[in-house]
Symmetry: D3
Subunit: 216 residues, 6 copies
Amino acid sequence: MGIHTYFQSLNDLERIIRCPGKFKFQEHSVSAHSWKVVQYAKTLADIEESNGVAVDWKKLYEITSSHDYGEIFIGDIKTPVKHYSLELRAMLQQVEEGMVAHFIDENIPEEFKAIFRRQLREGKDDTVEGLILEVADKLDQIYEAFGELQRGNAEKEFVIMYRTALIKIKGIKLHCVDYFLDRILPDMVSEGSKSPIDIARITDEALSSVEAHSQK
Amino acid sequence: MGIHTYFQSLNDLERIIRCPGKFKFQEHSVSAHSWKVVQYAKTLADIEESNGVAVDWKKLYEITSSHDYGEIFIGDIKTPVKHYSLELRAMLQQVEEGMVAHFIDENIPEEFKAIFRRQLREGKDDTVEGLILEVADKLDQIYEAFGELQRGNAEKEFVIMYRTALIKIKGIKLHCVDYFLDRILPDMVSEGSKSPIDIARITDEALSSVEAHSQK
Amino acid sequence: MGIHTYFQSLNDLERIIRCPGKFKFQEHSVSAHSWKVVQYAKTLADIEESNGVAVDWKKLYEITSSHDYGEIFIGDIKTPVKHYSLELRAMLQQVEEGMVAHFIDENIPEEFKAIFRRQLREGKDDTVEGLILEVADKLDQIYEAFGELQRGNAEKEFVIMYRTALIKIKGIKLHCVDYFLDRILPDMVSEGSKSPIDIARITDEALSSVEAHSQK
Amino acid sequence: MGIHTYFQSLNDLERIIRCPGKFKFQEHSVSAHSWKVVQYAKTLADIEESNGVAVDWKKLYEITSSHDYGEIFIGDIKTPVKHYSLELRAMLQQVEEGMVAHFIDENIPEEFKAIFRRQLREGKDDTVEGLILEVADKLDQIYEAFGELQRGNAEKEFVIMYRTALIKIKGIKLHCVDYFLDRILPDMVSEGSKSPIDIARITDEALSSVEAHSQK
Amino acid sequence: MGIHTYFQSLNDLERIIRCPGKFKFQEHSVSAHSWKVVQYAKTLADIEESNGVAVDWKKLYEITSSHDYGEIFIGDIKTPVKHYSLELRAMLQQVEEGMVAHFIDENIPEEFKAIFRRQLREGKDDTVEGLILEVADKLDQIYEAFGELQRGNAEKEFVIMYRTALIKIKGIKLHCVDYFLDRILPDMVSEGSKSPIDIARITDEALSSVEAHSQK
Amino acid sequence: MGIHTYFQSLNDLERIIRCPGKFKFQEHSVSAHSWKVVQYAKTLADIEESNGVAVDWKKLYEITSSHDYGEIFIGDIKTPVKHYSLELRAMLQQVEEGMVAHFIDENIPEEFKAIFRRQLREGKDDTVEGLILEVADKLDQIYEAFGELQRGNAEKEFVIMYRTALIKIKGIKLHCVDYFLDRILPDMVSEGSKSPIDIARITDEALSSVEAHSQK
């Protein structure tokens, strides 16, 4: 009942750990992930603006900060499950949206219902803000996986996470993607060069992959 | 490749925490839960046997010990998600079974494939062993929720978990269910009487509920 | 060197726990706190806008998301230390700013230096955005303390944190403060009524306190 | 009083961490260990059956699932202590059995006392089931140690644990031991080949050791 | 080999958690316990001195700081095990002493062997320093148990721990024991008066108990 | 009020983690650190005594065991902050001392006030005991950093911590420093030789550095 219920619920995302099951050196909560996505997106949008692209900051604020709120209701469902079939993925998204809609109906005061519906919608559309969110979200998967590979974690899941996110990002046409590939990624690969895992090779293979266009 | 991959994978269930997101005094991993289900089922089956019911111990062993193995692939999906619609539930079960089948195809040697397919199937059928597994699995939800209610954890989720599991159990026709309701549950309620939460009232309401027959 | 160093550094805030030393039921990292401040501020700004106040969303985005970034360098210094003397507080803020400035000089590429300097400045000024940040930051102290008081944590530090933050908020002239006091706080107090700690009384005392104006 | 006390007590084994004191990348609770022993034993027994050996599944179920229940009373006593002298070892086992017997006397209803005494007895006898339990228990020490060696943990304790368990297993005459040595262990060693620790050499030395027969 | 091995080994006591198995709000490592015993003993000795008793500070330093070092070798064996029989207790102490002696033989340079043998001996003799160590060690059990009782932890083990330690202390003839009973304990009981557990009653029962003289 | 408040407060140091923010394989609480400093200091003082130096054991006991008690009030402030300017450092020390003095005024009974003021003073003066405390405190930084470097933790902060502490120690004129450099450090470096980080080189560079005299 009321905004209090919403504010109170934010705490739950501190207790949902991403990528459950696999051995990892660093655990990340959904709320810490969400904050990092907000931070990346801000810098990515700065890069767009410095290239003359107009950014709707209010929209970017709304969609980045809330993009995983729905996990309060469905948890951090493993990526392979989400991607098992387009049909399942659609159904899971429908369930998440249904639960969020139900939460708004039950808890949010009439005068804010429209605002919350807009904010808690799926934000990854084809606008520049939606694309920045997509890049920022994948960027955190890259940093999450990199943090493991860098420390020698040999779980295949992190190689796949790193590789898949990189392929996804490189397929998005934004100035900030060029900047990331040209100016940020080389520093990351260089920092990872002391790892027993060959991060440079994994990176090169992902960058030269042609899967980018066929992936959703 | 090989049984090693299977044995090695068991570790992952130590890192999947049940009921993610909600505040709790005690965390339970899927592997600890699995062990407790094995233990409860053993005593429940002893009660059945002492009432003259024949128990297939090999089958009971197989289905109780492996009943959550599939969570390695799909994680601990929140109960409300699983129960959101019969359609989604069926699809999630299908995905889990598909992933388990794929794992067996890829990793288990030819001569053990049939055994693993039988062991890692969904065990909750209408045989006495399948029903015992159902009771044991719900019993652990009861103990998990009780451990929180007893310590004053006011999260609604644990009241619902306790109540739903109790209603489910009471609808199953087994001697061990009678024993649980008559001889075990009163001790539990009595132990919980010092809690600020009125466990006796929640228990009575669940036991007098008529939802039992309409629930699956 | 480069934006990579900045992105990489964000991880460190997941490992700084707020309010070190005191017994608590829930631990909060600085990054989880930062995300919650971003979320509260968004809704607080929505309330301002619905009252006809213009909000600079880009500025609000920048100052809320980065407001505790400096803790990477100085850690979460205990509030009583910060408030021990105005002189020490000023000096600590100067050190933090010096370290942030040094980090930008060393790591941020020339073309982004001005942007980072603006974003990582102290954001709590007298503009509507600065005041919203102040309210949102204190709101999270209220929720942090409430989560402990609600569960019966008798550490005096959380009573002080709750009380001080409430007094601070009530002294700020914003529509969202009125909304919080009239519509959100009563729900919180009502939810806390089962606690052995008398949250309603602590709240009433804070609200009727006259310290608000004399405090900075 | 009653089965409830027994069911409730199972939780305690989730809070006893194996191999206390030594640095490790992964912690294992006694309950997670117990579940893995149940799982290994099931597959080991399948291998025996496929070689024409009759397995008493009820007995195997009972002795594997409960084999460390006594640690609730005495904790996870360090292996070197247990093996310090035959006299101490016998006395510790006597204490554990005395405490288990006392627990059954006090808590288990008359009609189940005999069943619990049988289930909670020391299960490692010379029957095929007792030997399978011994292999499964040592197998988990191997996996526990392997998980550390594989990640470069240089604590000597894990080399000793791996080596001692391997020597113990190889001295047991079971088809499943042959299968483990021929078909599972090579995969494990191969997976561990990227570790800075020479797992292959440690394995070879253990396998060619002649201590097996002199050890109990 | 050498003092390095000894210094390095101290880390292990940070990873041995006291009172394993039981639910607790606060975990305590053996090293944190050791430090608190050192601190209590210092104040207890100050009280003795202020009553004209001569204290050998070097001896007190040696025996308090090292009193649980042997747990590196045998772990934190549960109190009920230690007290199961005088015979077992003697044997466990013998094993611990044997392992410590072996460690000194192997690792400590010749010129320090005598010093280490003296420091790592059992310090609880009938001298004033030995008695202060006994009081300080039990005092930490009281604080450990009090921290649980105060927060409503209903595990019987903590009532027993509190009660047994109090009875033990009150039987020791030292000025600091009088001071503790007259001046410190009442403040503790008063602080605990808000707990749902009746700490005052448990305290009174322990203080009026006549077991003190029959206990060792 | 009273010694109880002081004894109770010791618990808080178990919950303050040293070196917050940076990734580490092992976390150390302030209380575990304090205990290790007590232990090192004991052996360092033994070395002094064996070289004919008189040691005031009571003073050494007091200053080593309490040397970080003030962190209860100010937390574990990051070393770079403390060293940012001599002015800030002086002010922070003044605040800590002020808070300790206030605590003693409020809580410690009249007859012990003088004792507590002496014990909780800054102990690092130029007496042999003050210098031993300085060496012991830095020695724990060396072990803390070594534990990370040894396991391949590439965070620069630990190289700096190791190096700075070593330079500081080598500048102190004590027999135990000679012993450490000649007899303990070589064993440590030798144990660390398997690390991917070149600990020997870092050590050599620190030992041949000439910064020692210019540093405070």
